[in-house]
């Protein structure tokens, strides 16, 4: 006697779909204000062009802002760890890609890329680009 397949009727009435019960909207507003504040902060510090520490500071502020969005707006805080793990691993690989490419360029043999190599990377403005021995590549390109 073969038990014919019947799609299982939803045996039990599904409870309210989500575990953490939503009650107030204040956390969202708070996070929003903090984000706006951080944006102002990064613009202020950016405008002063602080030199060496400008980049790390900008990245630090951006990371805190993105963590805020991730944890509160995207509810990463109250959900299972697997989602956080996915984001962590993908950010890790992203940093790995950036890190190794930068290490390559940083530790290259310095005269290997003199800024003004014979047909270097100086800006060739279209109007004065016809003078001198224009590199073959550029001739082909600017047809």
């Amino acid at each position: 006697m073969a038990e014919t397949y019947k799609p299982e009727a939803p045996a039990h009435r599904p409870a309210a779909q989500h575990d953490a019960h939503e009650h107030s909207a204040t956390p969202y507003v708070v996070v929003w204000l903090v984000l706006c504040g951080l944006t102002l902060l990064t613009v202020m510090t950016g405008k002063q062009h602080l030199g060496a520490i400008a980049l790390p500071l900008a990245i630090a502020i951006a990371t805190t802002k993105s963590l805020l969005v991730l944890l509160f707006f995207m509810h990463l805080k109250e959900q299972k760890g697997i989602y956080g793990m996915i984001i962590f691993v993908s950010v890790l690989f992203a940093l790995l890609l950036m890190g190794m490419t930068i290490t390559d360029v940083a530790t290259r043999f310095k005269p290997l890329s003199p800024a003004g190599a014979p047909f270097g990377s100086r800006v060739q403005l279209p109007d004065d680009a016809e003078g001198g021995d224009k590199p073959a590549l550029e001739k082909e390109v600017a047809h």
Binding site: E22, H49, I61, L97
Partner: protein, 227 residues
């Protein structure tokens, strides 16, 4: 692409004592398991987006390392006020999307629809501001590669800055457009009562995608505008 990534949610609802209910695909044991699976699928899709932009950030890192003064000089010629305004627009839209989900979960449909419409307006605003900046650059001639004819910045590597600028902001704009179209579809669904406290996963996934678009801009803005 994104509509394919959230397939199971868009079924025609069948009523369950007046409150709309997600349809249970035959191979899932329970609705909760199905929603869990759909959310996991969405987070994996967000991981692919992060790695997509990682490639361009690697390019940015290299060329900023090789041509620091060209990048600094060129970034000073960007319109900082428009950039800052854009950042506020996106953060506010991220906030309103979160509020829309909050309202949907507490069965206040009209507020949710209002928030969604406001978010779409913000998205359009962002794209508008972006196109103003692009027009400005086209006139100035600050264009990538051989089209570069920007008089003020002639340090070596300046065209590289604008190549990176147009590639990153262009790719981000494409994602803003995709996110906006997803939100428009979700607005119509919310309007005809599709989401409720019983079932709002579809809206949540649309919101997750929009938050990601905002996340990318949170990193792009300081790197491009505030060197």
């Amino acid at each position: 692409m994104s509509s394919a990534a959230t397939p199971a949610a868009g079924h025609d609802p069948h009523e369950l004592d007046g409150v709309p209910e997600g349809i249970l695909a035959h191979h899932y044991s329970s609705l909760a398991a199905q929603n869990e699976a759909v959310r996991l699928g969405m987070w994996l899709f967000l991981a692919t987006e992060i790695l997509l932009f990682a490639g361009l950030f690697a390019g940015y890192a290299i060329y900023r390392f090789q041509f620091p003064e060209a990048f600094a000089e060129a970034s000073r010629h960007l319109d900082l006020s428009l950039g800052t305004l854009n950042t506020f627009v996106l953060i506010t839209s991220s906030f309103t999307v979160a509020m829309a989900i909050h309202f949907a979960r507490t069965d206040r449909k009209n507020l949710a629809v209002a928030c969604l419409i406001f978010t779409i307006a913000c998205a359009l605003g962002f794209l508008g501001i972006k196109s103003i900046e692009y027009m400005h650059k086209f006139q100035e001639g600050a264009l990538p590669g051989p089209y570069y004819a920007f008089k003020e910045v002639t340090a070596p590597g300046a065209p590289m800055y604008f190549t990176i600028y147009f590639l990153t902001t262009g790719l981000h704009a494409v994602h803003v457009i995709i996110g906006m179209s997803v939100l428009i579809v979700l607005t119509f669904k919310t309007a005809n009562g599709r989401f409720s406290s019983k079932y709002y996963t579809g809206l949540e996934l649309g919101g997750l995608y929009w938050h990601l678009v905002d996340l990318v801009w949170i990193f792009l803005f300081p790197l491009l505008y505030l060197i």
